[in-house]
Amino acid sequence: MSIFKSMNITSSALTSQRLRMDVISSNIANVDTTRAKLVDGQWEPYRRKTVTLSANEGSFSNFLNKARGKNEVGDGVKVSKINDDKDTPFKLVYDPTHPDANEEGYVEMPNVDLLKEMVDLISATRSYEANITVFNANKSMLTKALEIGK
């Protein structure tokens, strides 16, 4: 139904911000995890995860109208991928008593940066709030429309 289109778009945005929140929670929870994946009999620490969002062009009619040169509003946003952060190296911590320490006594720790995660956390929270504001504005617009002629 087209009167609820912007509500559906907001809903998709809220869902993806919730997923970002889930990923950040996982990153912060695993800040000290040294055994996340077994690679060739060796434990590898947890790798920081990030979310990639993409515009949801979704339906067939959207593509058709685009091909006809009409610009259409898409169906909001969707999560295209949850990536592993392979660029940031693992942190090396000297702790010879650790069971996962190597011969020199160093332990590989996850490449999670708490500071970065906190910034992402605030960003996700604020985006969520912004979308709620959009929803409320949209609702008050519809409610105002019902007052036409009163």
Binding site: F4, M7, S11, L14, F135, K139, L142, T143, L146
Partner: protein, 103 residues
């Protein structure tokens, strides 16, 4: 803003209007049309309420459903219900206006 005079109506509009007048529906047909229109509208409102209920139940049962989806569904249901109330009020107003007619 300039106010357009009636003569500026396009020819198609004029013919369409005369077609409508020359081919009136019988009172029975009109009644049926109105009934089915009202029925459809109320059905769609009811669908929104049912969807909202289903989502709420899912949330309470601890199934995989987001809180904001439940809230949005309930808001949609509330807006469609309000719209129905507006239409109902208008219909009842019209009915009462006719019943007040002195014969």
């Amino acid at each position: 803003m300039a106010i357009n005079s009636i003569s500026l109506m396009t020819p198609t509009q004029l013919t369409n209007d005369t077609n409508k007048l020359s081919n009136p529906a019988t009172p029975y047909e009109a009644g049926q049309k109105f009934a089915s229109f009202l029925n459809d509208a109320i059905k769609s409102v009811n669908d929104q309420q049912i969807q909202s209920d289903a989502l709420t139940e899912k949330l309470i049962n601890g199934q995989d459903v987001d809180l904001h989806e439940v809230m949005i569904a309930s808001q949609k249901a509330s807006i469609t219900l309000n719209a129905t109330m507006e239409v109902r009020n208008k219909v009842i107003d019209a009915y009462q206006e006719i019943m007040r007619m002195s014969i």
